[in-house]
């Protein structure tokens, strides 16, 4: 009888440990899936129309529960704008200086939930060696992947000024650049 009691006690202790331990893991953290993520920028050219480009090389992590941190890294050398000559120019010290500063990094400093699907995220973006504060209103969504894994998506649009980061001169380009960020992640 005492053996049964002790075994039940051990079993209950184990169950409690497992269930309680789950509370110690971060509420939700999603690793960026670069295949289903996009970082696109839009800039006005000669005050006539916009030119678009993107950075396919994106990695990092984010959360959608309003408590986790955001850290997203973009590979500058992956830039694509639809023209090889322009891509080369963008990578040079005239713009991004990709060899000296190979990544653009965003790190959150504060995350606040606005409603079920929206978060206000404040953070810092480091681009070409310059760090500037930035805020973004992020819309979130969750779902399942084809393999049944937990996935989440976030979308936001930021505006940054090229002059803040020494990204090129005038040359017919607007100072303001709109960056559209759409990330999908797999729950860790």
């Amino acid at each position: 009888m005492s053996n049964v009691v002790s075994r039940v006690f051990v079993l209950l202790t184990l169950v409690a440990t497992v269930l309680g331990g789950q509370g110690l893991v971060a509420a939700d953290e999603y690793g960026v899936d670069p295949v289903h993520s996009s970082v696109v920028f839009r800039i006005k050219h000669s005050s006539m129309n916009s030119v678009f480009g993107m950075f396919p090389n994106v990695s990092g992590k984010f959360s959608v529960d309003g408590e986790g941190a955001y850290e997203v890294t973009v590979g500058v050398d992956s830039i694509i704008s639809g023209n090889v000559g322009r891509d080369r120019h963008l990578k040079s010290p005239d713009f991004f200086s990709a060899r000296q500063f190979p990544t653009i990094v965003f790190k959150s400093t504060q995350v606040k939930r606005v409603n079920d699907k929206t978060l206000d995220v404040a953070g810092e973006v480091t681009l070409r060696g310059v760090t500037k504060p930035v805020t973004a209103k992020i819309t979130t969504a969750t779902g399942k992947g084809r393999g049944g894994e937990d996935r989440a998506g976030i979308e936001t649009a930021l505006k940054i000024k090229r002059s803040d980061f020494k990204l090129g001169g005038a040359g017919g380009l607007s100072d303001e650049v709109t960056v559209l960020i759409s990330l999908q992640g797999v729950k860790k």
Partner: protein, 286 residues
């Protein structure tokens, strides 16, 4: 475009004409021994011209981590200060040589970026280039006078523009344009009879010996075009071609023969550099 013409051409040209002209006017009535002091006007002119272009088109460094070419904002004025100090102090040649060597080593250390392969080799190469250019051009200016020197700088700067633009570094091309424009301005002042005979030296030798190799080397380090490294090296060392004119020293040789040989060599080197990078220069722009 207007911004580029202003900061890369008009202002450097105007600054050079103004500073060199004032230096010539200030020392016009002095003895020939003051020619060295007059030459220091060149150093100030070229330094100011470069700073006007660099600060006008790029501004001051924004981040805490300086890129290698941003150190030219320090090195070019330092070269100008050293040149002026050399003109106004009675240092021995040993002190001058030591200062020049230390300055060259500093250039080789600062102007090579951390991402570059074989940085030590490149640093040594840059330092050696600075020393070689200073010594050779000082020799050339004593034999050929300053006119060919100024023309060689105009040629190197002008040739550097298409090469650097082809490497996707238009800004560096404009920096070269500014130095070239300053040389053009200094040459224009020299055409005035009152100063023509007094320019037997140039304090800008040290300034251009760090500016051109520094800009061109960084054009190679950040080369995103199909420009061969030989083009950058040839242009950086092109002023050495003036030595050909110095060595063509037949006893009865007229100066124009030496000048022609010297400038001809510089032109040949510039043409070779342009020819090597011609496919990249003529590839369609966006």
């Amino acid at each position: 475009m207007q911004e580029i013409l202003l900061y890369a051409v008009a202002l450097p040209l105007g600054v050079a004409v103004g500073v060199v002209g004032v230096a010539g006017w200030l020392h016009a009535g002095e003895a020939d021994s003051s020619k060295q002091r007059m030459a220091s006007g060149d150093a100030l002119a070229f330094t100011t011209a470069y700073l006007v272009c660099h600060l006008g088109l790029h501004g001051t460094p924004a981040g805490t981590q300086l890129e290698s070419w941003e150190w030219l904002l320090l090195l070019v004025p330092l070269a100008g200060v050293l040149a002026v100090a050399d003109a106004y102090t009675a240092c021995t040649w040993k002190v001058r040589l030591l200062a020049a060597l230390c300055f060259a080593v500093l250039c080789g250390w600062l102007l090579v970026p951390s991402f570059q392969e074989s940085p030590l080799l490149w640093g040594l190469g840059l330092a050696t280039s600075v020393v070689a250019l200073v010594l050779s051009q000082q020799r050339a200016v004593r034999r050929l006078s300053i006119g060919p020197l100024l023309v060689s700088w105009v040629l190197v700067g002008a040739s550097g523009v298409p090469v650097l633009i082809a490497s996707a570094n238009a800004k560096f091309g404009f920096f070269c344009t500014a130095v070239s424009a300053a040389a053009g301005g200094a040459f224009l002042v020299r055409l005035f009879p009152s100063v023509r005979d007094r320019w037997k030296n140039s304090g800008a030798i040290l300034v251009t010996s760090v500016a051109f190799p520094g800009i061109l080397a960084n054009g190679h380090f950040n080369n995103y075009g199909e420009v061969p490294v030989a083009s950058f090296v040839l242009l950086a060392l092109a002023p050495l071609g003036l030595l050909v004119g110095v060595f063509v020293s037949l006893p009865q040789a007229r100066t124009w023969v030496s000048v022609t040989c010297g400038l001809g060599s510089v032109i040949a080197v510039c043409v070779a550099a342009l020819w090597l990078s011609w496919p990249a220069i003529t590839s369609p722009a966006y």
